[in-house]
Symmetry: none
Subunit: 187 residues, 4 copies
């Protein structure tokens, strides 16, 4: 039962933080949406900041695992890129609020060291992928960080446009943007 409540709190908080931001969301509102007493939140989390950090870490990790876990790194780079892209899209379809939450809380001053570390780790993985591609002369002779920024920027921008109903989330559009991205980075 206690796991249920904790989860209800996390679910409610995530959605509210994604929609209204950290400071724009009151603890009372989280409690209401989670259908628990306001005091109950403090039995599971030290304070509001701890709650947002738990969420950030959980979903940053979840996203990292969704994108990378069990990935066959011996695949040809273009295939690997396709797989990464596919998984990003899949994650975003399954957890759009979570993606927006993560995006919204980049570099927020109330994130702790652990949260920031996870952020760096995921970026590191992408960095290594493009480093590898460069060594194989598959992608352009550009700093990998730039390619990472480019691809993640396109992905986030695309997903925001999907969520705001500015672009239709069809498989065709997803495939199209993947191809555009690859043309940008490939040699």
């Amino acid at each position: 039962m206690s796991k249920d409540k904790r989860q209800a709190i996390l679910d409610a908080a995530l959605e509210l933080f994604a929609d209204r931001g950290f400071h724009g969301t009151s603890v009372a509102l989280i409690a209401q949406k989670a259908q628990v007493g306001a005091g109950t939140i403090y039995r599971y989390f030290a304070d509001k900041e701890a709650l947002v950090n738990v969420l950030f870490q959980r979903w940053k990790q979840a996203m990292g695992e969704a994108v990378l876990s069990g990935m066959d790194r011996s695949l040809p780079p273009r295939k690997l890129f396709h797989e990464i892209w596919r998984r990003l899209i899949e994650f975003s379809r399954k957890y759009p609020k979570q993606l927006m939450f993560l995006e919204f809380h980049h570099h927020a001053p109330y994130l702790d060291e652990e949260s920031r570390m996870l952020e760096r780790q995921l970026k590191e993985e992408f960095h290594e992928f493009f480093e590898m591609c460069r060594r194989q002369e598959i992608t352009k002779e550009a700093p990998p960080d730039i390619l990472v920024a480019l691809v993640t920027g396109v992905f986030i921008s695309l997903e925001k446009a999907f969520i705001n109903a500015e672009i239709e989330p069809t498989p065709e559009n997803e495939a199209l943007v993947e191809e555009l991205c690859w043309e940008a980075v490939r040699r």
Copy 2:
């Protein structure tokens, strides 16, 4: 003197809103940073929401003008794209906080209709540019909205990386990313 105070308030608020968000910034903090009394802010702005809307409108407009004003639309599309990109980068170098402020406040519920309209207008201009490119069979056969999302996504992602010192803001890097973007969208 009164124009000075109003400006000091706007400057302080912009920086704080960009760093800490709207709800994360107290009026007292703005007053302190602007070196005015807290009550003074209310001589110039009806309330905190009016202040953030004035800032949003002012800088959305400024960005639109910086990017588009006096632009020779008869230039060849690639040249036009280069010019737009150059101006975006220039604006971002001159007003990095302002760019982050605008990015941070997309779709914020406290923005009024006027603010939202300006937002749509600027997007519309980019849309038309890519529509024109497509008619001339210069860019790919893709919905212009997708190309807009792609280019703006890359730009914002790049600038964030610059600001966070993850990428060096050299002319070479700027030119490189422009070229990558173009390769993504061109036919």
Copy 3:
């Protein structure tokens, strides 16, 4: 316990509003007098205006009931008048602050429609009484509204003088004023 706090707030607010008026009474002062935290007031009342309206309605109603409930309207008019007067005096002895509060807040702009309606209702009852007396040719051939204004004016004036210790609140004085009033209105 919660009913206690709500009541303590109502009691404190009533006395302060009666003594110092609505705008002259700060929420902090009410909280202090009620021995609750300032925030607690907002758990029971939406805002300061809601609080004053609850008080007004509660006591306007209480006064109406005290004066009219269970009254035998078939009594001879002079007896009926005596009974009304007796009940008014009784109410005033029991609830002098409440009477002053009601008197002080006549037609206040922060009173809502419900409050104003109750005000009208009580006046209506007195109006009907004098209408009936006139039909029976017991009181003078004068607009009933004038008789209502006369009697209520005397009553309020008398009670204010009692409270300010300008007149002694003896049964003799009460009976005397009742008789003077009746002589004014009777045929």
Copy 4:
């Protein structure tokens, strides 16, 4: 010119105090209505309390003079009463806002000693009138204070009803109420 401004401030303040009360009226609002700068008010009055006291004293005195000055005290009591009543009505017709202002500020905690003294003086005059009537066995054998309270209570109640348009301010109604009052007090 300076007398004009002082007067404009007094006029504006009186009307606003009468309508909205002392605490419900901001100095800025008085200045706006008086068409002077807010600071100007402080060239004529030490502070807001001084202003309300000047007004109270001025109009309490004016009312006293209007009612009593040049009165022939050798007139028969009924004639004297008629004259007093006539003058009260006349004052109220000429200065209804002022009457409401005076009534609204009875016993207000921000009134100073001088204001309170004037209040007592006027009451004293009425007291003496009824004392005299009693000695002449014209009015009832009742404490004069009670008769004063009765007559002033009726007068105020009547004027409020006039102002709120509940009773028509016709000469007939005025004469009627005078007669009712006299019947109440006369032997």
